[in-house]
């Protein structure tokens, strides 16, 4: 049984103009010890999906349906006490902006001790807490843990702050770590260091990770399996190697083509048109407005997921050969 299984998740947001229908029935799963990547451009719903798993969706969000199964139990229907156990012991999340994730008016020590205390069932002595914090900071490759503990966030560089966030996340991430664009706010050399660190940590601890990113290169070098999201839907999924070598969904193909290459063959065209509004998304496939292969059926029906090669799925009518596609 997968560690996490998301089934037909639908999440919207209430705004002044009406209901933003963001997640439109997405399905994905994460196996134990698996590194899964979710790729998509801004506002495609990737962070919303993660927030649903962590149950930290904004107040104006509307859960319109679906399940998130953890060990067969639906996270979305657990009571607070049950979920608190998960948040304390099983899952944790790192965010994009390391500065915003730390409280500027407390030292790292105060914040770190709070987290350790929160996630422990038994009473811990100050020494035990301290020992744990130092151990985790060292795991996050931070030299001089004592100095870090006494610092305020502003006294640390961006890369160091992100390492502190990783160390803090490790307090509870005993089964799953969600990393939401962990290197995007950092310089490329620092991002490289942070990703190498994350990879080492999840492999050593034998935990699962969901890495969210808009950078295809980052995802390609990190994860075992990827999901490609577009406008609140998962359009393609499969083993990383297969998806990059043989992308099937027109969006994935165009997205990969859009990235300027280091080899410098000129800047690619990109994808024409813009992402549809979530207030009034297209009825059928949400990519229909920008797709060069759009057919009549794409406007009318939501494409099911077709297995295009082994373990490689694409939600696109181009792969409909008479028989109906199946859900994964």
């Amino acid at each position: 049984m997968p560690l996490i299984q998301v089934k037909d998740l639908r999440v919207g947001y209430n705004v002044y103009e009406g209901l933003l229908k963001v997640l439109d029935g997405i399905n994905f799963f994460v196996e134990r010890k698996e590194k899964v990547g979710i790729i998509g451009e801004s506002a495609c719903g990737k962070t919303t999906a993660m927030k649903a798993i962590m149950r930290i969706l904004a107040k104006n969000s509307v859960l319109m349906g679906g399940k998130i199964l953890y060990d067969g139990n639906d996270i979305l229907r657990m009571n607070d006490t049950q979920f608190t156990e998960i948040r304390r012991k099983k899952f944790s999340m790192i965010f994009q902006d390391p500065s915003a994730a730390l409280n500027p008016v407390f030292t790292i020590r105060q914040q770190f001790y709070d987290i350790i205390r929160y996630s422990s069932n038994q009473r811990m002595t100050k020494d035990m807490i301290h020992e744990r914090a130092v151990e985790l900071l060292k795991q996050a490759a931070l030299p001089e843990p004592e100095r870090i503990l006494d610092s305020y966030p502003f006294q640390l560089s961006g890369g160091m702050k992100q390492r502190v966030n990783i160390a803090m996340a490790l307090v509870s991430a005993n089964e799953l770590l969600i990393a939401d664009e962990p290197g995007t706010a950092l310089d490329v050399t620092i991002e490289d260091q942070i990703l190498r660190l994350l990879k080492k940590i999840v492999e050593e601890r034998r935990i699962s990770i969901i890495l969210i990113s808009h950078a295809l290169g980052t995802i390609k070098h990190f994860v075992d399996r990827i999901y490609v999201m577009y406008a609140g839907t998962i359009v393609e999924s499969g083993p990383t190697e297969k998806v990059f070598k043989n992308p099937k969904h027109p969006y994935t193909q165009l997205l990969i083509d859009s990235v300027p290459k280091l080899t410098g063959e000129g800047v690619p065209e990109g994808i024409p048109g813009i992402v549809p509004s979530y207030l009034n998304p297209p009825h059928g496939c949400r990519f229909v407005t920008r797709c060069p292969y759009a057919m009549q059926v794409c406007k009318e029906k939501v494409p099911p997921s077709y297995e295009v090669e082994q373990l490689h799925y694409a939600s696109c009518f181009l792969y409909d050969n008479g028989e109906n596609g199946k859900d994964e």
Binding site: E41, G158, D187, V188, D192, G217, K261, G270, V275
Partner: protein, 341 residues
């Protein structure tokens, strides 16, 4: 030291006169905690019709440099020669023709466009100041057409536009005064990769059509290799390597350039082959308040030698039109050869 000039004078003469020459420019900021040397002795030139790329990580001084060219900052010292005149002063002290001639496009169009003005109102401002006698309404339509936006966008507010469309408006605004030099400060960094291509394509077409010269600032090396004619890489306020784009990516010399290039997560196998031998990045860029002595990159450099800790290497021309400031190439030490690709 304006090395770049002494050594390339001959070459420069053969080509047309550079439109912009930056000579040993410095910009220091006095802060409560000390002096920040944001740009510390930078020299380069930009030829007419060229795309001159400036890359660097955050805090390297690339934006400060661009801002000095446009006149947002006054250099602490040094010369900026534009079309034969020294323009190293604040925009307020620059003659009107100069302000009209050098324009800038900022990184984030969401904050560089006034949310309370329609696109027409935004585009009218530079027109009213610099070309009051022209038919302004007509010019606005023309500008939108130039950046491939439909005419009805003129009556919309920035909020009603997508990120890429907003950036196109910012480009149209920069072009309103018919400049000949445009500083592009990370023009696509705030945008999704699927719209980036369109913006770059429009920028490159306009450059050809209007005979513009660009100073293109970005931290994205993959993008840079596709747009620039020559590239300079900055680290803590100094240019560490400068070369023609092809040369820069095929034969990077400075350890920092190689570290940066080898850290890029790329997608295709061809790109992987192009990358220099992996130099795992270590450490972080130092704070601008306490720049390391000698070569400012030495604490992160895998090839560091004693001399690097005390003497800052000059920017030398190591191959034709390829400049690099690193002791590895000037001392007899052959440590570096071992690491060559």
């Amino acid at each position: 030291m304006p090395l770049v000039f002494s050594m390339t004078t001959e070459k420069m003469e053969r080509m047309s006169e550079p439109i912009l020459i930056v000579e040993n420019v410095k910009k220091y900021f006095n802060t409560a905690r000390g002096i920040i040397k944001a740009v510390d002795g930078v020299s380069f030139f930009v030829n007419q019709g060229e795309v001159f790329g400036v890359v660097g990580e955050s805090g390297s001084g690339k934006t400060t440099l661009g801002n000095m060219v446009v006149g947002i900052y006054t250099p602490t010292s040094g010369k900026i020669i534009y079309k034969g005149q020294d323009i190293a002063k604040h925009a307020k002290e620059r003659p009107k023709w100069l302000k009209k001639d050098i324009q800038i496009v900022f990184q984030n169009p969401a904050s560089s466009l006034n949310p309370r003005r329609t696109i027409r109102q935004t585009l009218e401002v530079p027109l009213k100041v610099h070309m009051p006698s022209s038919n302004i309404a007509e010019r606005v339509d023309k500008l939108l057409e130039m950046v491939d936006l439909p005419p009805e966008f003129a009556e919309r507010y920035p909020d009603e536009l997508g990120g890429g469309e907003k950036q196109l408006v910012a480009i149209a605004r920069a072009l309103a005064t018919e400049p000949s030099f445009v500083v592009l400060d990370e023009p696509t960094s705030a945008l999704d990769v699927s719209v980036q291509g369109k913006i770059i394509k429009i920028l490159m077409n306009l450059k050809k059509r209007l005979n513009l010269s660009y100073m293109f600032i970005t931290h994205n090396l993959s993008l840079m290799s596709n747009v620039a004619d020559r590239v300079a890489i900055m680290y803590l306020g100094k240019v560490r390597e400068l070369a023609e784009t092809r040369d820069f990516f095929l034969n990077p010399m400075h350890p920092y350039t190689r570290m940066l290039l080898s850290s890029i997560p790329v997608i295709t196998d061809e790109e992987e082959k192009l990358k220099p031998k992996r130099i795992e990045s270590m450490g972080e860029i130092a704070g601008a308040l306490n720049i390391p002595p000698g070569c400012s990159f030495h604490p992160r450099c895998p090839f560091v030698m004693d001399v690097c800790r005390s003497v800052d290497p000059p920017l030398n021309e190591l191959a034709p039109a390829h400049f690099c400031s690193c002791h590895l190439y000037t001392t007899s030490n052959n440590a570096y050869d071992k690491y060559k690709k």
